[in-house]
């Protein structure tokens, strides 16, 4: 599908200014600000045609993202951003589809869609801002809240084992899985860029503190707060002895082991493989079916079908 447009003048350079829409409604100190700033910077760097960028989201604080980016977008219902984005991605290969959301959207109400988007390997980038709390509704337990975390729905402390997002994504079949921290901007940008470059279902799990309801959640991974940001060392394939110890990002079993590191866990790319996307498979199906049809028009194809029903 061609969307080439002849405009009166060359499109203006995509600047942060052009990309800025409404003022974010997030609380001061929210980790999501730095995710947004990183996204602006990446888009500025990449200079994609502005009209071909789509930002989609479900419900939650982080899911307000599309309002803050001046591109086509939609603020959808809770948990269903992935199937919405799947429709956009499958029908419109000319678009760059970015999904933003939180831990509730991704791992709880929309958990099944995350699995099936991953399994189908839909070509899109999904940034999940995990604050381990339901902040928008003022502190209820989230699927990643640690055991013992006191919330309004678990006043004596959360008792259910939290979801391990990386393991969930690995088992579902996501083809790019990375983890980062909203306070580590350059690492976060690297992860987001590598996700965007990946052909297939690419997820970046971002630990992004809720300043209001769980402010110290990820301090243990923040060097400025006395924590340690442990980055996965990826294999360089340089045949050095050190390389043997580094992580092969195509090794699923190794990725599981890394995902089992105790909280706050490791950061970086856990897994990346190339597997046919549903986008490609559907295109191949169309090509093979149409190849058999010859050069018939849509009208002629349907007329032929009706002829067989006479």
């Amino acid at each position: 599908m061609s969307t080439t447009m002849t405009l009166a003048s060359e499109p203006a350079k995509l600047t942060r200014n052009a990309l800025t829409a409404e003022r974010p409604t997030w609380c001061p100190g929210c980790g999501d600000y730095s995710v947004l700033a990183s996204f602006y910077k990446i888009l500025e760097k990449r200079q994609l045609p502005q009209e071909n960028i789509v930002t989609l989201a479900g419900i939650g604080c982080s899911s307000r993202f599309p309002y803050f980016v001046n591109t086509h977008g939609a603020h959808y219902i809770h948990g269903r951003a992935v199937p919405l984005a799947t429709g956009v991605s499958l029908a419109r290969p000319d678009l760059h589809v970015y999904v933003f959301g939180g831990d509730g959207d991704g791992f709880s109400i929309g958990g099944n869609h995350l699995e099936h988007g991953a399994r189908k390997n839909i070509n899109l980038t999904y940034v999940i801002m995990d604050n381990s709390v339901y902040g928008m509704t003022k502190k209820q337990t989230s699927p990643t809240s640690p055991v013992g975390f006191k919330t309004k729905t678990d006043p004596t402390g959360a008792m259910d084992r939290p979801v391990n997002p990386v393991k969930k994504l690995l088992s579902a079949g996501a083809t790019f899985i990375a983890r980062t921290h909203a306070s580590q901007v350059s690492h976060m940008m690297q992860m987001m860029e590598r996700a965007m470059d990946h052909e297939g279902f690419a997820v970046v799990h971002v630990l992004s503190d809720c300043a209001e309801f769980f402010p110290d959640a990820f301090d243990s991974a923040n060097p400025r707060k006395g924590g340690e940001f442990k980055v996965i060392e990826e294999k360089k394939w340089d045949k050095t002895p050190e390389d043997a110890l580094r992580h092969d990002i195509t090794d699923e079993a190794a990725a599981y082991r890394l995902a089992d590191h105790p909280f706050p866990g490791l950061f970086g790319v856990f897994f990346q493989v190339n597997r046919s996307t549903k986008n490609d498979l559907e295109d191949m199906l169309i090509d093979s079916v149409r190849g058999k049809m010859g050069n018939l028009s849509d009208l002629e194809i349907l007329q032929q079908t009706f002829h067989r029903m006479k």
């Binding site: 829409a21 502005q50 071909n52 001046n70 939609a74 219902i77 199937p83 429709g87 029908a91 419109r92």
Partner: protein, 545 residues
């Protein structure tokens, strides 16, 4: 016309297949049968009551013991089971009996045996050639069986004369008509989850849409299905999702978003008996209120209902036109009787009907508003350059004209009116339904959906007996066309016949809506919920009370 009634059991059970043959308009399955084939005692026991006096009972004498003392019928007992086993060499157990009987019926009714053999080869030959050969042996054995003189010349059919100036007739079931109607309407994308009796629509679209460069996705659940279809539509490609009652319930939150964000979308509900798992393979029209009102908040949407198999085709074209023009979700209501029944109708004039829908990505001028208060929303799909550099975000939050979320109470009132008004504009454009029968009289029957046939047949039968009766059939159920009261004014009473419960206050679902619309006590209700369609005599008896 054929009707199929199958049980909702995994391994099968008592299944009924009805065929009605006529040279004119065949409107319903008919109240009584001329010819009954009973394979088992239970089929005899359950259905001998629907055989016409003087009708023929053909039964498998290996399994059925009819009451031969009942002299109202003609009995023909044939050892169907043993003759089939004999023909197939004693290996086939009870399989092949249906094909044996098909051969027998072909001989009795003088069907074109060669054409049937071709169909048998097509049907079974794909799996393996030996199976087709076995089926043909069974057919031949039945065809060659010396039927008694009584039956040999009892029925005679001639092919209907074909007027070369008239379009050819094509034959399909209601779900096929919906699927091909969607294709003719230009719909190239869709997503759904399987559920009886909707499933065959998605099976057809999954196989057919790639031929047209499109795709149909089987999703993980109903919520993903409607969301993906909304994603397709949002991307500028009018899309379809569909289901049956329980699945539609699951889709309702997303349909609320489509109503709020004003997304064109087609939602097909092939209704079955409800609530819950209900009667998955039976006929009911009990999802009308769900289609119109299902969901939270005031969420306007359009509801259409197909009257016949042929109408299943045309109504999808209408649904697509309305969805695009009014940027709204549109329901198409069908039901399990339309979904499986096969009808012949004039081949549609595809040259004039076929639509070609492509996303409109022409750059939008400065000042573009996705939600103008004074106009019907027409979205700029992603990929559209916005010349003033302001890009739209579609939202389920209440919003201003630019899509900016706002909690302003006044704006919510205005936007609610905006979303409602477009349906009022549609209502004003809708034609009034034609009155069938007398233009005025005592009783006007009002129907919707698959009861079209029996209602018309009831009107015909009553008028043949010299009395007056009229009917209208509604395709547009929400909004209703304006001016129905001008039709009602010519009748002493209006009886709404529909296949749902009379409810707490004595009125079926459409009757309730019409009473609320017109506040007219002469609007009455005739309902039925036994999982089967109306018999003509039930309608006639129902209005003579």
């Amino acid at each position: 016309m054929t009707y199929m009634t199958i049980p909702a059991t995994i391994s099968g059970g008592a299944s009924i297949f009805q065929v009605r043959i006529g040279s004119g308009e065949v409107l319903s399955a008919g109240d009584e049968a001329d010819f009954l084939v009973a394979f088992y005692q239970h089929s005899y026991d359950s259905h001998i009551g629907s055989l016409k006096e003087g009708g023929v009972l053909l039964y498998d004498s290996d399994h059925v013991q009819p009451n031969l003392d009942d002299k109202r019928f003609i009995y023909v007992g044939i050892a169907i089971t043993s003759l089939t086993i004999e023909a197939l060499g004693g290996t086939a157990k009870t399989k092949g009996k249906n094909i044996f009987v098909l051969g027998l019926l072909a001989a009795i009714f003088n069907f074109d045996a060669e054409k049937l053999k071709t169909l048998i080869r097509e049907r079974f030959g794909k799996k393996n050639a030996a199976l087709a050969d076995t089926a043909l042996i069974a057919f031949q054995a039945g065809y060659a069986y010396p039927v008694e003189d009584l039956l040999a010349n009892r029925y005679h059919f001639e092919p209907a004369a074909h007027d070369p100036n008239k379009p050819a007739q094509i034959t399909m079931d209601g779900n096929q008509a919906i699927a091909y109607g969607l294709i003719a309407a230009g719909v190239r994308y869709g997503a759904a989850y399987p559920i009886t009796p909707w499933t065959s629509v998605m099976e057809i679209l999954r196989a057919e849409l790639p031929k047209y460069g499109g795709m149909f996705v089987q999703t993980e659940d109903e919520l993903a299905a409607v969301s993906m279809a909304i994603g397709f539509s949002y991307s500028g490609n009018l899309a379809v999702t569909g289901s049956s009652g329980p699945g539609i319930s699951l889709k309702t939150e997303a349909i609320g978003w489509a109503s709020m964000a004003e997304i064109p979308l087609i939602i097909v509900n092939v209704q079955r008996g409800g609530p819950s798992t209900g009667l998955p393979t039976n006929i009911e029209q009990s999802d009308l209120c769900q289609a119109i009102f299902g969901g939270h908040g005031d969420s306007p949407r359009v509801v259409l209902a197909a009257a016949t198999v042929e109408d299943c085709f045309y109504i999808t074209l209408e649904a697509a036109r309305i969805a695009k023009k009014y940027s709204t979700p549109v329901f198409i209501l069908s039901d399990s009787s339309l979904s499986t029944r096969i009808e012949a109708f004039d081949e549609p004039d595809l040259k004039n009907l076929m639509q070609n829908l492509k996303p409109d990505l022409t750059p939008r001028p400065a000042g573009f508003k996705p939600y103008p208060l004074d106009k019907i929303t027409q979205h700029a799909p992603p990929g559209t350059p916005m010349l003033d550099g302001k890009y739209p975000v579609l939202t389920g939050l209440e919003h201003d004209e630019t899509g900016h979320p706002t909690g302003s109470a006044g704006l919510h009132a205005n936007m609610t009116v905006k979303r409602r008004k477009k349906l009022q504009q549609l209502a004003a454009e809708l034609p009034l339904p034609e009155v069938y029968g007398d233009a005025e009289g005592d009783t006007l029957l009002v129907g919707w959906g698959s009861t079209y046939g029996p209602i018309r047949e009831a009107v015909n039968r009553v008028r043949q007996s010299g009395e007056k009766l009229s009917s209208i059939h509604l395709r547009n159920l929400h909004p209703l066309p304006n001016g129905l009261d001008t039709i009602f004014a010519h009748f002493r009473r209006v009886v709404v016949a529909e296949l749902n419960d009379a409810g707490l206050y004595g009125f079926g679902q459409l009757a309730t809506i019409l009473r609320s619309r017109y506040c007219d006590p002469k609007i009455q209700s005739l309902t039925k919920t036994n999982g089967l369609s109306f018999l003509v005599k039930e309608i006639i008896n129902g209005i003579s009370k």
